[in-house]
Symmetry: C3
């Protein structure tokens, strides 16, 4: 059974650039600039507001929404897809509680690293989260439970990225370690996921497409190897230039 | 009647670099870093504070102030020039009301796109703003009304930029579409407008000079054509290097 | 008497990269992205939270903390080293009072320019700060008093940087004027100082090492001379690549 191909990613990216979905971000101040530029580069339209009353209005205008826990003030919901980015969940009690509350609103997709995904799953059970060393195997198991319970797609980032809806698992092996050296990298993935969910019908495919486009752009940006400053600039350039040819040439689905 | 020449822009830019005016910005978190760097690059000094009591003190120290509606918390006035950047006015009710309130304090200059200018003019009449598709012709008409009513200069950005005080209209045709792909681009124009108003006596000329310097720097930055990430970096470089020779060689006044 | 050598800086930098200390930053929105990227580039781990309850929790997890006055909401202390960045102290009454309050919590290190250091010292005496033109000589005298009174290390930035604990003075003459044209440059120094204090036993040596690494990276970044935009990118690259060979080849201790 094959649910995701290079053609899916190409089609969704083309559609995103045609429709320029408006993506509202409720994120923290650190990453907001990079995330906005990443959305512009890929071909979407960023919007940000951090005033509760405006956030509520905006939720009805935007095509999709990204909520990250970095500066946990707001919540929203308006029937459009939304992405929960569980930054640092489990580390701090305020945002861990907030994550538990937000899960009840059934996010469309949840991208996170192994530790964040395992912690969220623990929360879902009403527990305290898992403090042990998190393996990819454990994380995939936790992701499947999380997807089942909340009807969301879970994307686990790592050397190999895994995207699952609790039934199928798509594995992608693109990317570059420089992504971990740029503030806002993870948040940009969440924003691009929201943008592709806004134009895709199949949430598993759209989430996998976001991971593919994001990690292939990273690979292309890392070619120059000038350092993390140069990489961040080249990554925005690559988000703007990544296209069907690049995706077909590079995508590593396993 | 000719009220703006390349020499005006050259003179004001030289004066800005000599005096390094302190520009206070009351802007949102997304763009504040880029705007600060743009002010430093052009030769001005940025200041930012988002605490009401400090904002009030700062208004008396700064040479000019930029207020954008992106995170609408504060207002100020201290007899120095100030610029109202009507970001997303008309889209969200909180900031639309705030824009109406702020207009009563008579901004020195209002830079915006056609839609924002038309909406503001509608507000000035006590109406709801204009929702129709906005043409350049409509926008110029609206800008003239806005300028007349509030004694401000209005700058409409577009393929051709128009700057008017309700009497004269200066048209400039420099710029590059990459400007719309960088978060904070519009806010940087507002900040540079504030900086040039701080050193210029004629507000129409100073506002036109800001548009000229900003759009000429953008043209120069776009030469490499590496993508939006590279453009943002090159744009800061170009703001620092744009000079009399560059302005004379490139300026397109019509 | 010689308390700081190139080898000290090399050793501490290597240790930082081995341990990747978590540095919490309580800074303002303008500089937070650049500072986070600077910490990632040098090899530390940035953390930021601006919610009081989280800030308190984080203080117990982080290896060191940077507090800048740019957006003065919070305070913390948890027994780990912390750096007070007195941005614009003396200019605005809110943050001047805050600086006075924070000094009572005995920061480990205080990096500032001559004017900020002299103002802080004036505050320490209960006075109003010094408004006169500040010379390097005056600043060093003030730094010595500040260090004596609060048991902290004071680093004065300038053409020559001076670092003192009230007993010894270490002078370093690396750096580049581009550092003053990038928003967040000073804050990045504060963050790197916090990161090195987290891995160093001698606070004078660790603070001097931070100044050395930071200014040597700046020199290397300025080689291309493309302008302030290119410099900021190259500076992050240089923070990632600066190593023992670069430090030994360039360090100017006097």
């Amino acid at each position: 059974m094959r649910r995701f191909t290079a053609d899916d990613a190409c089609l969704l990216l083309a559609r995103l650039r045609e429709r320029t979905p408006l993506v509202q971000r409720l994120t923290n101040a650190v990453v907001t600039n990079f995330t906005a530029n990443a959305l512009l580069a890929i071909g979407a339209a960023p919007a940000m507001t951090d005033i509760p009353i405006e956030a509520d209005q905006f939720a009805h205008i935007a095509s999709a929404t990204l909520v990250n826990l970095g500066t946990p003030h707001a919540e929203q919901r308006a029937g459009t897809p939304w992405v929960l980015d569980p930054v640092a969940v489990g580390v701090l009690s305020v945002r861990t509680q907030l994550a538990a509350d937000l899960l009840a609103y059934a996010p469309t997709a949840v991208p996170g690293n192994a530790s964040e995904v395992i912690t969220l799953t623990g929360l879902g059970r009403g527990g305290r989260g898992v403090d042990s060393v998190d393996t990819a195997e454990q994380a995939l198991d936790a992701a499947g439970q999380l997807a089942d319970r909340f009807g969301c797609v879970v994307a686990i980032s790592g050397a190999t990225d895994s995207v699952t809806d609790g039934i199928d698992v798509i594995r992608l092996s693109n990317g570059h370690s420089y992504l971990t050296q740029v503030t806002g990298g993870g948040c940009a993935l969440g924003a691009i996921t929201a943008a592709l969910l806004a134009v895709g019908d199949d949430r598993l495919v759209a989430t996998a497409a976001a991971t593919a486009v994001y990690t292939i752009a990273a690979e292309r940006a890392a070619v120059g190897d000038g350092g993390p400053g140069s990489f961040a600039v080249a990554f925005l350039d690559a988000l703007a230039s990544v296209d069907t040819a690049a995706i077909r040439a590079s995508i590593a689905i396993s």
